[in-house]
């Protein structure tokens, strides 16, 4: 999902940076607040952030004959919301643009918007929708993770299509072309990522249900029910 350095006109770089910065500042403020309120949240942040580090470094092959990487933002989105997730993503993306030439400083804003903001926001919307319904916790985690992953790539396609509309058909036909590269490749990856992170969530739930209850991730009754199921 990285837009490569130099491949986005500076006007667009600026626009995405302007969108990303306030979200990051709000994320840092929220992060401080959460950690001050409850030091026990720090290990959970370590786990959810750790998965963003690992999964975003795995280049996996897909059915389209090209490789792409999962984002791993689902767990963090569910536990801490999209803004704190954006901060963790910004750290990972900064590392990758400084040392790996994946993305770059000028396009960092655009990459943060796709991986750290829009993807997690869409996932978070679904999580809020499902949280208080009778839908199984693991199915919720699966759907949120897969959706956050997919929408990261949809957003990358959108960012590129906006900057490079096709000569015939303009923005829409260009968007479809980019979706063909980014989103289609991502479908199997998003499904596997969803299942794996649902499994990780089961282990968190088994070991530390109290922190999830204190953070209000799911209601106490729902967590107890999920614990007795497995």
């Amino acid at each position: 999902m990285h837009i490569m350095e130099g491949f986005l006109p500076w006007q667009w770089c600026l626009i995405w940076w302007i969108i990303a910065l306030p979200c990051l500042i709000f994320g840092i403020y929220q992060l401080k607040k959460v950690l001050r309120a409850d030091r026990e949240a720090l290990p959970l942040l370590g786990i959810t952030g750790g998965f963003i580090f690992i999964l975003s470094s795995l280049k996996l092959p897909s059915v389209t004959g090209s490789c792409s990487h999962p984002t791993g933002t689902g767990l963090s989105t569910i536990s801490f919301g999209p803004w704190i997730t954006a901060v963790v993503c910004a750290i990972v993306l900064l590392f990758q643009s400084l040392f790996l030439a994946h993305g770059g400083l000028s396009v960092l804003g655009a990459n943060i918007v796709s991986m750290g903001i829009v993807g997690p926001l869409v996932g978070y919307a679904l999580y809020r929708l499902l949280r208080d319904t009778s839908v199984n916790i693991y199915i919720t985690v699966f759907l949120v993770t897969a959706l956050a992953d997919m929408f990261t790539y949809v957003t990358t396609s959108l960012e590129l299509a906006l900057a490079y509309p096709a000569e015939t058909g303009g923005f829409v036909s260009s968007f479809i072309l980019f979706m063909g590269i980014f989103a289609v490749t991502q479908v199997p990856l998003a499904i596997v990522e969803g299942i794996v992170l649902a499994l990780v969530f089961k282990y968190i739930l088994t070991l530390k249900p109290d922190i999830l209850i204190r953070l209000g991730v799911f209601s106490k009754e729902k967590i107890e029910a999920a614990r007795s199921e497995i």
Binding site: I3, E5, F53, G65, S106, Y164, I195, Y203
Partner: protein
């Protein structure tokens, strides 16, 4: 209790199917290079804008890993850092639970 390991089994199946899909694609699809979708995307940008890929230059000068080996080393470091934190926390929690 019947469903104790449902998720583990599902995750195992998903990973096996994923690997099988990869093997099938790489065996049957001609021209499948498994390049990064980032690069394929850059190719499309070049096609749409009519500017060859070589003519795109970084807006902000950028350090590039001199070889694939060094790049994979740095990627492994990134993943190792994540793995260390995750393993440490799960171990810490298991210890806490045992003590309690």
């Amino acid at each position: 209790m019947v469903y104790k390991y449902t998720l583990e089994i599902l995750a195992g199946i998903a990973i096996v199917v994923f690997c099988a899909l990869f093997l099938y694609t790489s065996a049957t699809m001609s021209g499948a290079e498994f390049a990064g979708s980032d690069n394929v995307g850059s190719g499309l940008i070049a096609k749409l804008s009519g500017i060859p890929v070589e003519n795109f230059h970084p807006l902000i000068p950028q350090w590039e890993p001199p070889s694939g080996e060094i790049e994979s080393c740095l990627f492994a470091l990134q993943a190792a850092f994540g793995g260390m934190v995750i393993g440490g926390v799960f171990g810490f929690w298991m210890g806490q639970k045992k003590k309690a």
